[in-house]
């Protein structure tokens, strides 16, 4: 079993005029995993994804996807046969019907899985004879997903795949992603839906203002991230509790809320030394970790 990264970038950067959209991003995405790519609007997620696919040229830095350079035009063509991509705006040919669009896409891919296509058509309830321009936003998304899923790609890159889907549509999509991963597809998807990320992702990358600010496995995050609520008899300074592994400290009067990514025991020990009158350690979910990570300082 190889564990050579499927996506690897070094100091990948992109500016639009004076705006630095992506700043020195080093990604290393493991194969056969589901990796979620989180970040606020404008954090640089779509720009990063487009650079990975060779659709935008980086200003500096390099990257490889499935062992092929993202800066090489010839490699980029070969790459697109192995990578399925569902873009943010779900690009499709509006004048075609659903059936024509499927037939058209199918003709490019010899590995096309007709059986899976049929299964997806019936779960997604897509009308074959309807023109794409008259499809609802959710239907468009479902069609774009079908076209990507039925190819059985080595790597699946999705830019906000659940946008416009209703709860049932989201559930079906998540099941499909899990199934594809089980068959050996590596999944890399950007999302704002933290609950869905928390359920299916193995790994999470958070981008903030163009920088990669968190890159961790969800198992590790569940294991080591904790929120510690402290009460002191006299107000304490934040610097009293700052130490490696402390991600954030918030103080209100005699109360202090500390988020740690490492050894919670060390913070508890320090709090004891500082005579905390109450110490409470609780697990912290991805939503709170995300909020802490992208909080403006």
């Amino acid at each position: 079993m190889t564990s050579i990264p499927v996506i690897e970038t070094t100091e990948l950067s992109k500016s639009y005029g004076r705006v630095e959209a992506v700043r020195g991003v080093n990604l290393s995405i493991k194969p056969y995993q589901i990796t979620a790519f989180l970040g606020l609007n404008g954090a640089g997620k779509s720009t990063t994804i487009k650079m990975l696919l060779g659709m935008i040229r980086p200003n500096s830095g390099a990257g490889q996807v499935l062992g092929k350079s993202i800066n090489d035009a010839a490699d980029s063509v070969a790459l697109r046969r192995k990578v399925a991509y569902v873009s943010e705006n779900k690009q499709l040919y509006d004048y075609m019907t659903v059936e024509q669009m499927i037939r058209f896409t199918k003709s490019f891919y010899p590995d096309w899985r007709t059986e899976f296509e049929r299964k997806l058509l019936s779960t997604y309830e897509l009308p074959l004879d309807r023109r794409i321009k008259s499809l609802s936003k959710g239907m468009r998304t479902k069609l774009a997903l079908l076209l990507a899923f039925a190819r059985r790609p080595e790597l699946l890159i999705l830019d906000e795949p659940s946008e416009g889907l209703d709860p049932i549509g989201i559930e079906q999509m998540l099941e499909n992603l899990v199934a594809l991963c089980g068959e050996g597809t590596t999944v890399f998807f950007s999302s704002h839906q933290i609950p869905e990320v928390e359920r299916i992702a193995d790994h999470v990358c958070i981008l903030h203002r163009g920088r990669l600010v968190l890159d961790a496995s969800l198992d590790d995050m569940r294991q080591s991230y904790r929120q510690i609520d402290l009460v002191f008899s006299t107000p304490r300074d934040e610097s009293d509790i700052r130490m490696p592994g402390v991600e954030s400290v918030r103080t209100t009067g005699r109360q202090m809320r500390v988020v740690v990514s490492g050894d919670a025991e060390l913070v508890v020990e320090r709090a004891n030394v500082l005579h905390a009158s109450s110490i409470e350690v609780v697990p912290i979910g991805l939503r709170d970790i995300f909020m802490e990570t992208v909080k403006e300082i």
Partner: protein, 166 residues
């Protein structure tokens, strides 16, 4: 990774399972068909594979799963729970390492209860009934549940400290 473990899907289970609710999962044995719930909570501070391991272990300890029973294939269970297949792979292979599951190439995961595990199960059963009795007595004394919990935890913590000092 998945191919290496070689657990194929139980096709029969898949068909029946599609009739059941979305969020829960069922285990089917070849002989007997009984739905059993695995509930993984993404928001608690515990990795999902550990939650799954505990729930399988608990199912064995409570007798819901017996020696020789078959668990769903990795992909089937992952799709039913809507979790990454790697979660199921990790739980199954850790349990195999512990000796509670036997992974057979191409045919699935089977519960394997060894004699030592059996006596452990009966010890756990005995512990359950003793604790139940004890808690009943403490409640009669007028203690609230959170007080009981605190006493038990303090006692466990204290005895663990004594052990570590030794």
């Amino acid at each position: 990774m998945l191919a290496a473990t070689g657990i194929s899907d139980n096709v029969g289970a898949m068909k029946v399972s599609q009739l059941t609710a979305l969020s829960c999962c069922c285990i089917y044995t070849p002989v007997q068909l009984f739905p059993m719930l695995f509930r993984l909570s993404p928001t608690t501070g515990q990795p999902l594979y550990l939650q799954l391991m505990q729930q399988i272990r608990h199912a064995v300890e409570s007798g819901a799963l017996r020696h020789g029973d078959q668990l769903p294939g990795i992909r089937t269970l992952a799709e039913e729970l809507v979790v990454s297949p790697n979660t199921v792979v990790k739980a199954y292979s850790e349990l195999e390492h512990e000796g509670l599951l036997e992974l057979r190439q191409g045919s699935g995961a089977f519960v394997s209860v060894k004699r030592s595990t059996r006596s452990q199960i009966s010890r756990v059963h005995e512990a359950h009934s003793q604790v139940r009795k004890l808690i009943g007595g403490l409640r009669e004394m007028g203690l609230r549940d959170d007080e009981i919990r605190r006493v038990v935890e303090a006692e466990l913590f204290h005895s663990a400290e004594v052990m570590s000092i030794r």
